[in-house]
Symmetry: D3
Subunit: 161 residues, 6 copies
């Protein structure tokens, strides 16, 4: 925690870390999460029969747009001109998995962009499918891989990359 203390003010007030001394380097982050739902809802989504239309296409756009707005949503995040963010989906047993991958050449990591994209993509799936299942739950949003910065290439424990 000694390191951390360099960017907390004496009163514990919210404070942006000053990244001005950091060089621009390659950064990448992958986040993931799942939304559990009934097999009826999963089938409707897979078959394009969900009541509001194309669930995954809409969630993909929502996630990408949210990633670009991360600094506008998360109070202490820095505005980052991301090189790209992309989102993939996979069907699991009783769930849809979202994987978001963000790229940047910049001064600080893009894990918040990946996590924000994942979260909003999942919330969008929730919105598109809530008429089919009111018991959906969003689970397991976490960082699974990160490149760049002090930690170098980091992979979450238990992740097959």
């Amino acid at each position: 925690m000694t390191k951390a203390l360099t960017h907390i003010d004496s009163d514990g007030n919210a404070r942006m870390v000053d990244v001005g001394q950091k060089p621009d380097t390659y950064r990448m982050a992958v986040a993931s999460g799942r939304i559990t739902m009934s097999s009826k809802a999963l089938t409707a989504i897979r078959d394009g029969d969900a009541p509001k239309g194309d669930v995954l296409g809409t969630a993909r756009i929502a996630g990408i747009m949210a990633a670009k707005r991360t600094a506008d949503l998360i109070p202490l995040c820095h505005p980052l001109p991301i090189d790209a963010v992309n989102i993939d989906f996979s069907f699991e047993d009783g769930a849809i998995r979202v994987i978001a991958k963000a790229h940047l050449t910049g001064k600080t990591g893009v894990e918040m962009e990946a996590i924000t994209a994942t979260s909003i993509a999942l919330v969008t799936i929730y919105d598109m499918a809530k008429a089919l299942d009111n018991g959906m739950t969003i689970q397991d949003i976490s960082l699974i891989e990160k490149v760049g910065g002090k930690s170098g290439h980091w992979i979450a424990k238990g992740t097959d990359c």
Copy 2:
């Protein structure tokens, strides 16, 4: 699904439901979710020692502001002039729980506002504490109570209200 078919177009394209025929009635929704973290991180947050400062105060504001932007984030949500949204936190064993409650007098439910507020509050906690623990995971975001609309007063199974 017959009912749902009233608001899907013939090609499965994304489409906003027209709420114009619905009357303005009282709506309320409560959503909840958790972020798991190490005891070291939990202690730092509780003691006001997190590296970016006041974690829960910042997450509360982020969640409230995100709720007001739900229609700007979730593509097919309607813009809703919410009467209020508020956020509470509780410390659990190995996690912080977020509960968001939204109120509206309007034509459609506010569950998306409550779920968006919960999600962004959790993502903000992640941002504020990620220097303390890189293995945090967001879990169990779901709707736990809803008042208004066709379903009347709905409480999720297993919820003590």
Copy 3:
């Protein structure tokens, strides 16, 4: 022009019209526009082979989201809690047509929402296809139908509805 003078100040300065005295009534507006492009680009979009992926699905979401932000983009527009906005596409000879339809129960018309949705959907198609054709042109954005307000049910000349 006598009527118009009720909402211009004496110096010709930009000024929002005060809609406070108007009742909430049903409003609907339909706008349309086209983007011309090469047959190669049209074929790629129709076949799902455009370089950035699903052109029409992305443009539909962009248009819907832009409609909800009309008052944030067009300086003197009123914030309107629209009941719905939806977007359809059709393939024409050498062009794609966008039709956007907006609904509101409110104090003023939704033609700007329909026109903003049309414009941003067309600009999004331009972005998604510009690697295929650098000579695309956006044409014929206009209002084609309007319901509500003083003009009652208005249909543009030459429109088959």
Copy 4:
């Protein structure tokens, strides 16, 4: 199309191009478009008699602000820290022409900023003048000049620069 295939995923899903490998170079783009209207409306705008006030001054600001929000409006556009965007107008026979010019030192072109600025400036003129003429039409939005990137200095066919 072989080149294009490097940035489409295997399923045709919407996807941001990764610009991380590109160097920062000078970029410029000019877009243009027109809005046709009655001579009565043109005269009112020219004379400062339009019902909502200063039409062109308001449209200029709306276009500049929209250019800065391009990545927030167009789903797959990259956030670009533009060096400048400026907008000019000219009166034509039965129309007002908008010309928007954007500058950037960056990794990708600014044509979408120029086209977005043009579109929103035109839609703003529409809004400011719609009480004068309900038959206005937006025409001919296209790129007319571009500097930087693979295509070097590109000028649209038939353009006098």
Copy 5:
């Protein structure tokens, strides 16, 4: 303060007031503020010679647009579908005065919209004129009149209305 305690939670946490029980009534608010500057800067603005162009026209649009975004900027403000907001300027001795007037038919007052509009109009004047005078100061932003709600028709002491 007893009244106030009805909308503070037990821990002093930030909290939106629930306006759901309030009826929609007519609301109006007027705010005002000034920016002091050198006579050279005042002259340049009055003569249209400021380095970035039309200062007051730009500040008017910025203020109107900011008013519409009040709930997006001020964390605990409610989203309000304002009926109108308008801004006027006057030249004073060594200063420019901004007056912003907002109207609403709704559940809560529009004083924050008027004050936000005033503030952002003043900050925009600062931006447009800062190359002319680096000692400008924004002064006296306050509410000067309010109609509606419990206080009825309120006028600030010392105001000539």
Copy 6:
């Protein structure tokens, strides 16, 4: 004014300055302002008894978030990827002072970010405390220090730094 004429067009129209030829250098700006209020209101804020909860914590977040949105609020400001912005408060006799400090490595100064942060933090205090005192006034918003650009290290007259 000769210098200024390089960035004004011939008609006095609003125009963004092109910063493309400027190098990226270190920039810093400090702005300050005050809000006057009754001793009752000051005491409530200091003691955490204000009706909407934590006034200064909320104003700090609002100011930081507004700084990141400066280019979205002030029409001719450039989008700047700020390295940090932070906000401090002090209690004065009959007032609360806000000090905002912004950092950037970039092509143009960050004084507008510091001034926007100060203004919105003050407006947020107003919102949080208006139920306690309807005579609050925002005063003395000005730039107090600036580093970088042509003026080098500039300190406002009468400032003790």
